[in-house]
Amino acid sequence: MSILKKRRLQVVILAGLVVFALALCALVVVMMLCRGPAVAY
């Protein structure tokens, strides 16, 4: 694999990881919306 292709793949993977991180945050938001207030902490 050429250096340029490898670099491009790295950028794509990193972008995917950023999306994954945002999805984690979205997961919390969705769970808060769906489950409502907690009964106890």
Binding site: R7, Q10, V11, L14, L17, V18, F20, A21, L24, C25, L27, V28, V29, M31, M32, L33, R35, P37, A38, V39, A40, Y41
Partner: protein, 294 residues
């Protein structure tokens, strides 16, 4: 409306997410990691590596904050300063926060291991473990918790350094020391300002039994003097130019002056001035270090 008649603003879900991940603290962690990376790196910046380092660190910091709040949710409910966090206020289920924290921590460490190196991943894991598993329970056990808590707070610049250089070097350890000593006057000032709340929650803090403030204020001076000394090291070991040396000298002297003022007055305004000065101090010092680095 609350009993005093003032309107109560209900936090939004996004602000709760920011609170759970301690957004401001995580931003500071990222800033210090960035400084460590920039100081360690030689040649044209590898932006993919830098981006992955910051992403992995951000996830680790967010996860550690979530785990910390999951562990402390009962005590947070006792302090007005923290009672409105999403867990003690019961706007979020504890299991959700735990799951989020664990996922963030694991993914952050894995990203650092895959993109940077195993040493950086190890340091990130160590930071999370000390913060969540050692510092958090120690708050209820010993006054030394501040000293322990300053370790994970000081590791991020070393983490940035190791991501850039593949090793811990003198420069990385100097950054660690600067961050460690900086946190002491910073946290002692906070602990003084909120000493009643810490006492009510049962946290073991020096400030809760130091009603006159002598021990607390003197410690801020001692740590500020140590901070001044270690902050001059980059100028003496060839990491930074003489311009940095004089900038660090002026900034460190300011911190010492405000610590002396705290000793003389030992009241809320003097503690608040020291606290805010410490907030301004760090970006200025790190900015000078990057600007005048060699």
């Amino acid at each position: 409306m609350n009993p005093s008649g003032a309107a109560v603003v209900k936090p939004s879900i996004l602000s709760d997410l920011g609170e759970l991940t301690k957004l401001r603290l995580s931003f500071l962690v990222l800033l210090t990691t960035l400084v460590g990376f920039l100081l360690g790196w030689r040649g044209p910046i590898d932006y993919v590596l830098l981006g992955a380092t910051l992403l992995g660190t951000a996830l680790s910091a967010a996860g550690a904050s979530a785990l910390n709040q999951w562990l402390e949710r009962d005590l947070d409910a006792l302090m007005p300063r923290t009672a409105d966090r999403p867990l003690p206020a019961r706007r979020m289920h504890p299991s959700d926060a735990l799951l989020f924290g664990l996922l963030c921590c694991v993914s952050g460490v894995v990203i650092l291991g895959c993109f940077a190196n195993l040493l950086t991943a190890f340091l990130a894991a160590l930071t999370i473990i000390i913060y969540a598993a050692l510092y958090t329970p120690c708050k209820r056990i010993t006054e030394l918790n501040t000293l322990i808590g300053a370790i994970p707070g000081a590791l991020p610049p070393l983490l940035g350094w190791t991501a850039a250089t593949d090793q811990t070097g003198l420069g990385g350890w100097i950054l660690f020391l600067i961050l460690w000593f900086w946190q002491m006057p910073h946290f002692l000032a906070i602990a003084w300002l909120y000493r009643d709340q810490y006492a009510a929650a049962g946290f073991k803090m020096l400030t809760t039994r130091d009603s006159e403030g002598w021990a607390t204020s003197w410690q801020t001076l001692i740590y500020s003097a140590a901070l001044l000394a270690v902050s001059l090291l980059p100028g003496t070991v060839g990491m930074a130019s003489p311009y940095y040396f004089f900038a660090a000298l002026a900034l460190g002297a300011s911190m010492m002056y405000l610590s002396i003022e705290f000793i003389r007055n030992r009241n809320t305004p003097s503690a608040r001035r020291l606290f805010f000065a410490s907030i301004i101090y760090l970006p200025l010092l790190l900015g000078a270090l990057v600007a005048f680095s060699r």
